[in-house]
């Protein structure tokens, strides 16, 4: 008997009124612990698909199944990290992380504090624990959001261009860190981006989308080429460069064909 897939998009389509965002039935299986990048131009439906996995939108037809059961409204199992407004300005870094456990009844307040301190340390913000978000950089605010979803105990992290507003250097730093955290905590991640380099560096697997309506153009196994371990040296390697370039060429060729 086939094992039940972890996260499965089964013939999913989505329409907002007249507008078909996902027109052809979308099928995808994501195994537990995989880091998947959804790569594609803006407006191609990748964010909508991710949001549906989080329960923030519902499919018009088809199903999204988590361990065989259709996903319901949003819950703690599926955490979200947005590009902006990702942390609450009226809470300190520590309180923001604690907020991730606000509605958990299964652990004591003292345990919550311990967990919060742990995740604040994990994302390297220990010395800013008592600071309000307006006192820290945009990159640190994104780390706060990541720590909050981890503290909440989410198994799946849904990340919507979380580093999109950051400068190149900070971005690189956070990418390294996210990859490290993911390999330690074995989270399943869907990471939406339109940056080819970011997708190649971070992901185990890249789903390349065509422009709307959300067709899978390619399903690329990155780990087979680059291995699971990624660090700054990965970025400088010839394989990384070749891999990145080949995906860019593929996108360009497809774009040229469509424009013609």
């Amino acid at each position: 008997m086939q094992p039940v897939p972890y996260l499965q998009f089964a013939s999913v389509t989505k329409k907002f009124g007249e507008l078909a965002v996902v027109e052809q039935p979308f099928n995808l299986i994501i195994p537990r612990g995989q880091f998947v990048a959804f790569l594609g131009p803006s407006g191609c439906g990748k964010t909508t698909l991710m949001r549906m996995a989080g329960g923030l939108d519902t499919p018009s037809t088809g199903n999204i199944l988590l361990e065989g059961a259709p996903v319901g409204p949003p819950d703690r199992r599926r955490g979200m990290v947005f590009q902006s407004y990702s942390s609450f300005p009226w809470l300190t870094v520590e309180q923001n992380v604690l907020f991730g456990m606000k509605y958990r009844r299964d652990i004591l307040q003292s345990q919550k504090r311990e967990r919060a301190a742990h995740y604040v340390r994990l994302v390297g913000l220990a010395e800013f624990a008592k600071s309000f978000p307006n006192r820290i950089s945009g990159g640190m605010r994104q780390r706060v959001a990541i720590a909050r979803t981890l503290a909440a105990g989410s198994e799946i992290l849904l990340m919507d261009e979380p580093f999109g507003a950051l400068d190149a250097q900070l971005r690189e730093e956070l990418q390294v860190e996210l990859r490290r955290i993911q390999s330690e905590d074995r989270k399943t991640i869907i990471f939406v981006t339109h940056d080819v380099e970011e997708a190649v560096f971070l992901a185990d697997r890249i789903i390349v989308f065509s422009p709307r309506p959300a067709l899978i153009r390619a399903d690329i196994d990155v780990t087979a080429v680059l291995g699971a371990k990624r660090d700054l040296a990965t970025r400088d390697s010839a394989e990384f460069f070749k891999f990145r370039t080949s995906i860019l060429h593929m996108l360009r060729a497809a774009h040229a064909k469509e424009s013609a």
Partner: protein
Amino acid sequence: MATTPSLARLFVFRGQLSRKIKFFAGLLTALAAIGIWAAAPMLGWIEPIFLPSPWAVLQALWIMVTQNGLLTDAGISIARVWAAFLLSAIMAVPLGILMSSYRIIGAAFEPLIDFVRYLPVPALVPLAIIWFGIGEETKIFLLWLGTFFQLVLLVAEDMKRVPQEYFETAYTIGARPYQALTSVALRAMAPSLVDNLRITLGWCWTYLIIAEIVAASNGLGFVIWTARRYMATDQVMAGVLVIGLIGLLSDQALRALHRFMFRYL
């Protein structure tokens, strides 16, 4: 290093300014206004019966406070303003939040509120007197009428401006909609809500004077209006001065409260 002349440094287009300089700029303008006011009757530009000197106004104020019980009238006016303001706020805040939270409620109330919002309060004074006589109800009603309908829309707008991301973040850590409302939305909208309440309190004072002029036997508006009848311009101005001072003080107090409550901004 090039040094800019100091005067030019004060006039940088969209530039920055220190707190101290800002304070002195405000003080200077206020003193200049008082100076012109003092000079005008003294130099014979205006008859003192139309513009009494600041000194005469202060004297009138002293007499009104010590002999005519002006503080009682001020207290009555303040009580009316706050009663109406609280009534408006208690009704407007929940309705405004509901209007933004549920499209159907917003759609149902918006046309009516928009209509009443544009009715000038003075035009409704006769109706208010017919309905409520000239008791306290009339004044509270007029103040409420002038502020409630404005405030509802401001609150609805504050709520609408809470980023969707905040709600969705709350949902994905297991919050139900009402929990997202109380622990996230209210906190997120609080700074602009407090600002709008402060502005509404200012409007209350505007309408209070109208209400007290037409239908009252005490309060600052009544005092001013009575003094006018005897051409006691110094007393009229003393009354106006008191209203200005109360307004200034309560506004500053609320601003300080705002800074204290929202230190994270």
